[in-house]
Structures are given as structure tokens and as C-alpha cells.
Symmetry: D3
Subunit: 220 residues, 6 copies
């Protein structure tokens, strides 16, 4: 089970308690790898760094990555002793960790790569064909739903289609729903992405039973 939790979830403890419970439940029957995003705190820290004069995207991304690792650490503490004691720092460490610990929680890995990409790379490395993607936008819409009231949710769409739509914003801390690099990994290795509303961690169980309470991005 490979899943990603948006950084947005790491602000309210109620939600995190639910995620911890869901992961603990699944870990009884499956090995779990969780990728955590950076969220609001990442954005603030990157902003602070910019004001201090950090201009390099490398360092700004690094700061975002460390915030995502900090978020990972909260889940690790809450899941202890099920989870590997520190967030992996490379893809290889994720693979090693996933073979040894019931739960592995990781943040970002390298500058210039979204945590969505980490999710898909982990899936590829572990030979998993489906990932769960808890996102601020629980469904993919025909248009931007925050701007267009007539936007309609899509239950399925192809990754290549979405890739064309997605605006390729690659400034640190400003990735769209999902970036094209992540979608490329999905396509090249045939990984389906089940998008889910991050406010509802229990959707995981429904999705595992084959239902689709969000949107599916098909690897084609």
C-alpha cells in the first residue's frame, strides 16, 4: 500500500489521529509506505527563507523537503513502534525500509521533485500498480472547481490527458494538484492513481475494496 497525504492534513490533530488509525489498521495486513507533503508550513518557511535572501531553488526546495520530513516524523511518532524511526532520505532507503518495517513514512527526497513524484517513484521501485493520493482536491474536475461553478467531477481520466491540462508550475512549494513529472512515472510504469479527499482518511478502506470515492488517473 503506497499512499500520499497532502501537507494540508498536518495542521489539525483530529485528522492526523484518523490517518494514524487508518494506517495502523492497514498495516495489520499490508506493508504500508506513506509519503507526506509539506503544506502550509513549508510555504511559510520557504517564504521566510526568500526574505532572508535565499534565492536558489535548490535550497528553497530543500527547506520544503525538510518540512515534509517533519510532517512524516509526527506520523512516525504516532505509529511507533510500527514505523521506521526516521524518514528515508533516498529512494533506495525507501525500498530497504519497506522490506524491513511494517510502515515507512517519508517526505520529499530531492529538490525539483514534488512529493507526488516520490509517491510514483516509490510505487515503481516497489512494483506496486496502484497508489492512493489524498489531496486537497478530492476529485479531478473538468475545470478548476474553485473558479468555475459548472466544473464537473471526473471518475476516470488518463494520465496523458491530465498531463496536458496541468499547468507546469515548478517553483518550489507551488506544485499543482499533480505535476507532469509524477504523471510520466505513472505512465511509464503503469501505475494507477486513486485520488481521494484528504479530509476523509477512511475513504482508504472503500478505495481498497475497489470502490472509487474520488477520481482515478489511468496510466495511459
Amino acid at each position: 500500500m503506497v499512499l500520499k497525504i497532502t501537507g494540508k492534513a498536518f495542521t489539525t490533530s483530529d485528522l492526523l489521529v484518523k490517518y494514524a488509525k487508518v494506517i495502523r489498521d492497514i498495516s495489520k495486513t499490508h506493508r504500508v509506505v506513506v509519503v507526506t507533503g509539506g503544506g502550509e508550513v513549508a510555504r511559510k518557511y520557504i517564504e521566510l527563507a526568500r526574505e532572508v535572501g535565499v534565492t536558489s531553488n535548490y535550497w528553497l526546495d530543500e527547506i520544503g523537503i525538510w518540512v515534509s520530513r517533519l510532517n512524516a516524523l509526527i506520523l512516525i511518532g504516532a505509529l511507533s513502534p510500527l514505523a521506521s524511526p526516521t524518514p528515508p532520505r533516498t529512494l533506495e532507503e525507501i525500498v530497504r525500509s519497506a522490506l524491513v518495517y511494517p510502515v515507512t513514512v517519508t517526505g520529499g527526497l530531492i529538490p525539483g521533485q514534488s512529493t507526488a513524484s516520490v509517491l510514483l517513484q516509490a510505487a515503481e521501485a516497489l512494483g506496486v500498480k496502484r497508489v492512493y493520493y489524498f489531496s486537497a482536491i478530492g476529485k479531478v474536475y473538468t475545470k478548476d472547481p474553485t473558479k468555475h461553478p459548472d466544473a464537473k467531477p471526473l471518475s476516470e481520466l488518463s494520465a496523458s490527458e491530465l498531463k496536458k491540462i496541468v499547468e507546469q508550475k515548478t517553483l518550489p512549494g507551488d506544485y499543482a494538484l499533480i505535476d507532469s513529472q509524477a504523471l510520466e512515472y505513472a505512465i511509464r510504469s503503469g501505475v494507477e492513481i486513486q485520488v481521494l479527499d484528504y479530509k476523509n482518511p477512511e475513504l482508504m478502506f472503500e478505495a481498497m475494496r475497489g470502490k472509487n470515492p474520488g477520481s482515478r488517473i489511468l496510466p495511459k
Copy 2:
């Protein structure tokens, strides 16, 4: 030059810009090791973790440590390429880094130890006899100055004296001005602690010229 900057400094960019400038200046003539505290963000993250159900002091401290590393990273980015690219994770890594890079910025190291202890341990390992301690309280007072208006500043006091005064609060994220463990390191290895007001990074230059614009904790 071994110095500590309280986590409080990592909220306003203006102050950090000044610290970066001071460190850059000093690094022209001295190797610099900076220890960063966790501050308000550490406290908030630890609080969040507690709400999520993390009860172990080990994990709560770990979270505080990672926030202090995040603060270190902002300085590293601002000082690039002078500074070692990641915060050291062990005392040995601090020693190695200090021998190789002009500037080393580190956060906390292990649970149960304040960043003040890290400062004194680094001094001990590097054979330094004086450290600079930028603290929220820029001077040591006869009483708690926030409660007693008649508290008087002390220009010098002994570490053993202070150790008796200091209330030994050892819960994560709640260390006093300086904890007894840090003071023990100072005493056993004869390291003087120059306390300075964190709102005024330029005091560093005065202190380096032998002046005492704060308080001195003598190693006895």
C-alpha cells in the same frame, strides 16, 4: 567561534538577515559553528504531536530537534556556499564539518538534550574555551525579570551558582534559559558562556573584542 542562536530568532527575516551578515563577516577570519534552537515552531509541532497521541518524550524531542535543523537549513541556504550543506546529525559530524567548511550550522542532536548542551559539547569537542549564547534573555538577572521589576542584571556569575538557581525543567521544548546539563559541560571543560541579547546580532563583534554587553557565565 562557537555560537548559539535561540529558536526565537527564526521568525522574523530582518533578524536572520543580520545574523547571516555577522556570520559571513566572522567566517572571513574564523571557522564558525552555529547551533540553532527550535523556538515557537518547535513548541507548536510538539503540541500538535501530543494532540495526535505521541506521548513518548523521545519522539517529542526528536520533533523539536528536526525543527531546529529546519532553522539551521535557512541559515545554511542564506550562507551558501560557505556552510556545510546539511545540518550535522552527530557530535562527530560537527567536528568533521568544522574541519572542512568555513561555517557549520547545526540544530539539536539527541533527545533529552537541549541545544544549549549541543553548544557546550561542540565547544568541548573543538577545544574552544568560550561560546556566544544569543538568548531571549540577553542578560542573567538576580531574579526572573519578567516577574520581578527589581531584578538586577549580573555581569558575571559562576556556572555552579546558576546551576543551583536554574529550575530543572526537562520536558521537551520547555528548557529554561540554560539547563544544568549544559552548565555541567561548561564546568567540566572550562568553557565560558557569553550571554547576549538575540535581538542584537551585532553584539557579537563587541563580545569578540572582549567587551561584555550581556552576562558571562564563568566555568566554576
Copy 3:
């Protein structure tokens, strides 16, 4: 099961054979973490280093730590392949090792910290509420029993009480029965310390059955 064996035990092979047997037995039903002290050899090596002109407490402590690791290695060899192949060098490595290997044997970790502190830190990190402490003094006495013939053994006492009594000698290789730093960890994380006579490794089984063939230091 988290236990410490005083460095004194690492001079006579008969005793070590017994410890190896006890640990092997326990490892059939429990994960075991053993912390080894430095003992007489540590003291001699530190003395030699002093004579060679090493004055820094950092290096003197490091030497003591490496001797304790050497002691760990003898147990590791004797317990092979049950034990992790090298002594962990950080607290995090202890946690990782304890999750993977039936037995983990570790020496000291960082300068300025007794192996008793390592024991309590390991307990804290692993969420263990009781540790076994094989010491040269198998019981805590009302006075120093080597000097006062009328000293009486205590079956229970509080850590904070003991902390006051303990003379805080912090020079390398010269720690008292147990140091105040270790006791602080015990208090803050609620870990009971079962003191046992190091000449009698089999006391472990009695103590595990709930008996008290030594003294108990209660975490309050």
C-alpha cells in the same frame, strides 16, 4: 528487555559465559538490548591517554566509549548470529537495530554521557518502562557500604531522592553508581530501574518474574 552490564564484568570469562547464556535464553521470547560499560580497561586507557597529553574531556570520553564498544563486541561474537554485527553508534541506530535483530549490544554513545544514560535513553526511545541494571553495587544502600559498615540496603527508593544523594562526578571514566542525568531520563519518562548484582547474571530471571533481588529505583 533493556539491560546494562557494568564494565567490571568484562574481565572474567566465566561471568561473561553466564551473561551470554542468560541473554540467549531471554532472546527466545523477548527482543533484548544490552548496554555494556567500559570498566577497568576504559580507566586504564583513559589514564594512558592522559599521560600521552590528551587533556580534552571529549577525547577521553571517546576512548572510554570505544572500550565499552569493544566489550559489546565480545558479547556480540559470543551471541552470533543472534546479535546485530556491530555496536550501534547513535540512539537512532539502537532503535533500528532493536526492531531488526533479536539482540542488540551497544556501548556508550556520546562524550559527557554515562552508559547508564544510554540505558535510560534506549528505554525511552523503545517505550520500555523497566530496565535491569547489573552493577558493581548490587543494592542501593543508605550510605556508602564500602566505608560504613552500618549501611543498610534499600529495596526501593525514588529516583529524585537518589539524585540528591549522588555525588555528581562527571569526569570521564569516573561516574558514580548512577549519575543524575540518567536519573532525570528515568523520571521524565517513568522508567523503573531494577538494580542487580553484576556477579550474578541469573538474577535476571528472578527479576523478570517480578521479584526484587536487589533494589528498585522508582521514577518519581
Copy 4:
């Protein structure tokens, strides 16, 4: 100085002798980071792995990466003791190495990323605004010059333009001249790519003097 040498160069020793000489010369006045490609041997090994039944893109890419490291090792041996003794395995290791050694030679880093991306990431991390790209195609053409005799060389073109042209082939070992991911790094961090003919290592000197004996990809 950050440059990439196509894997194609690692088949004839004459060419490598020249590269070693050029790098040795430059290292007298500049720190040098060299990224090596995998070339024909990578392709063969990936093919072999496929025949053995390896289907995962992760492992196929890993094999390609290790061949590129092997190529790096030949240059390291030839440049010894100027070069860091092993190829870095992460971006962070590249940064560390570049601060310590006169020459750093690295291969690929992670699956799903071309060595061209490594080149641009290294530039970003090191704050370099220009990279040298020794490629099998020494100039960018208006059309594929191997198929269209009327293709014309371009002395300058924009990265975003090229990104649109480039066919996004992302199967391991089959990357185009330069992939879109690498171009994105160039754009977001303002890095110019000086394309050069790999058969002519001495073009490096011309290019360093500001001439353009190939094509320039501008970061816009």
C-alpha cells in the same frame, strides 16, 4: 565548471585521454564537476537485464546508473588524486564533494532521471549559471540531421522551444539529446546549456573563452 560527457565517449581510450587532460587543466583554476553518461554499455546491460526478466523500470534505470558510475570511475582513476575517490550517489554528496575536492566525477543519481537532469540539478545546487554539454550531437539542428540533409544548425535557441520539440521518450537508456525534465531545471534556475561535440574535448577551452562552437540553449 559543471560539464557532462556523453556515455558514447567511454568506448575509445584516445578520447578519454583528451578529456582527462582538459579536466586536469581546468582544475588548476576552477573546481570541476563532471557528469558521465552510460552510453552503449548501459544499453547492452539494460538489454541483458530485460532478457533475464527484469521488467521494472526502476531496476533497469538503476543498472544504467551503475554503468554511468563505472564510466565515472575510469575518469576518477585517470585523474587521481585530484578527484573524489568514488562517484557521489546523491545530489547532496555532489555538493559536499564539490566543496572539498578539485574534481568530482559523478554518474546518474536516481531512476527516472537522465544524467542531463543530474547536470542541471548540480548546476542549480552549486549556483552555477552555465553548463557544458558534450553530446553525440554537437549542435542543435532545425530537424533531425541524421534523417534530413537540409537540417540547419542553430547557434542559439530557447529551452522552452526545445522542450516542445523534444520527443519525451522516458524509457531507461533511451533518452533523447536532452529531456524535458532537464530543460525545466534549466528554465526554473536560469542555467544556460552550451552544447558541444563530444568528439572534441578541447572545445571546452573555446567555450570557456566565450565562443560558441556548438549551440546554446537559453534558459527561457
Copy 5:
């Protein structure tokens, strides 16, 4: 189960498919450690390095070692997720890996040591008393069989005997059937070497059942 596969096997995929199958089968009941040789590719790369001007045996051996690791990686990919994700780089890593993963595949470790020595060292470290040695020469002969048609195969011979016969060629990439250093490890730790024809991986099963379809080198 500790076995070595000559680098020669890493040229034809058919053979590797068989090895992968044999190892997968054995891993159901035994922990497996496989040491891979460098073979023809190693020789070519070392030759290339020599032409480029690498004269140090250290670097030439390093190159041979990395090719053997590349060969290890192909098996790792084919056996995924049974095998440890990267080839160990030290003897200690082999021991750790063998305790954690069903299959460990490793190449050479240090310059000046054949992969045959690695095989015997691994056996010693893991307490194994018998190793399987898939070699280009499937049997030990009274004379060099490629030169003397009247050479007779030996079903058993002593390691000390063989050690005298073996020409001690120690130039990188040019080790004989087995080198004297490897034989010394076998003698000192009492490890029997079962020589087998590398073209026939299934001989492994016969040999495991106690048969001798090659030659046995006895540790005396």
C-alpha cells in the same frame, strides 16, 4: 547457502535466467548469499582504464569490483523483491544484509582481493562450513586441462595442496581458478569449497543433496 558465480555467466541471459530460478527456489528454505565475479566486461573495462593511463592497481581493481557489482545488480533486479536492493560494499554489510533479506547478492569488496576471497570471508563471517563455487573450470584437474589432454579430474583435493599448485597471479582481473588468499581463509576457518561447472546452475541441487558433480577442495 553461500555461493559464487563466475563473471563469465553474466554474458548470456539464458544462463542467468537459470541462476535466478535456482536461487529463488533455494531461498524458500535457506538464506542465500551470492558473490558475483566481474568476467569479460571487467577485463575490458580494466583494459580501457589502462589505455587511458590508469596505472594504479588500486583503481584498476576498483573498476573490476564495480563491474562485479553491476553483475550483482542484474541478479538483484531479476530476484526483486527477494534480494537486498544494492550490493553490499563491506563484509559487515554482507553480514547485516544476510540477517535481514532472503537473498543478498554482492560483488567484490576491496582492491587486492578476488571475489573468491569474498566468498570465503562471507562464509567465515556467517559461520558457514561449505560454499558453492560456480567456475569456468567445473572440476579441478591434475594439470591445466586446456593445455594437457591427459589431465585428469580430481573429485577431492586439499586446499593446501591446491595452494602450492596455484600460480599466484595477482594482477587485477587476472586471478587464477582460485587464489591462495581465498584458500587460506578456507583453511583457517575450515570451509569446504564445492567446485561446480558454471554452465550448469542446476548442479546446485545435486550438490546440496550431498553429491559431488565437480570437485571438492577440503580445508586442510
Copy 6:
């Protein structure tokens, strides 16, 4: 400058003070790599381990290696901050350390290898053609001088000659003056071994000026 100091030297502080002085002097003009032996303490610890039931040569050697590292640590402490802060654990770490620190002090590296072999391997890896070998026997004799009063010292002899003479005792802690494996490294990479009396560290200066106050083992 690459030199080895027999473990015997690590018992009297007077001698070590002299070694520290000599190394400090040389480090002003040369990078220094020192390999330390295990000596009497190693032998005692190995004996203790045997009595505790450790039979594996791997673990017995490991224990000897750790004692040699402990000896290294004393020199490191005495030479601080000139020396790399911990003894390297692999050949690669020796190379890295030698490029960064004025002095590197290392003990043994891997089981089955004498510290004399480490000395020659280090020389090979660093491209050094001469090593200094402070040994309990300061000169090579025609016969064992402790048994034959008519034994005559040799000022020069060839490594291959010596190799034939040397009894190949390879049990842990029981290596002869120099073992055949070490001599093989010397021969294959053309390294001359200057044997010197360990009781007289100042002979180093004489030997560096081209004199031969001991014996020379020529690489042929």
C-alpha cells in the same frame, strides 16, 4: 608519508608522546597516514573472547581490529585537531580522509588481514612508493634473532625472498613480522618497506633523509 606503528608501542606513554611529536612535525610538510597495530591488549581481548566461547575467526579478528582502532584513537586525541576525528573503517575512507586531513590514523580494516596489509593497501591507494614500518623487530635478520645468536641483520632484502621465509601464521593476533599478503601488495605495486625499530620513533627523520637505520624490503 604512510607509516605503521606496532601495537607494542601502545603500552608506554613515553613512547607515544614521542610518536605524537614526530607525526606533528612531519605533518607540517607532508600529509601523514598512520596505521596502528593491536598489540598485547588485542591478544588479551582475543584470548578473553575465546574463553567466552567465540570460535569464529571473523569475530576474533574483529575484536583485534577494534583494539587497533582504540590505539588509533589515543593518537588522534593527542594530535587533535590535526587528525581526522575517527579511525577510518574502509580503504575508501582512508583515501578520503588523507585528502582532507593533515593526519589520518587508522587501525585494521577487515578480518583476515593484518595491519601490515592495511599499510601496503593504503600506500597502493594513495600512490605512495615507500612506507615506514615501526616494528618490534627493528631489522630483518638472516635467522630468528631471538633464537639464534649468530643471526645477522640485513640492510636490504627482496620482498619475494622474505615471503618465502615468512611462516604463514594467519590465526588472529598472531601475525609474524610481516605476512605474505602484505608482501604481495608491496610487490604488485612496487612499494618499498623501510623497517624501523619501534622503540625509536625519531628514526623516522633519518629514514626520511634517505638513510637506512633498519632494513629495507625491496618490492621485487
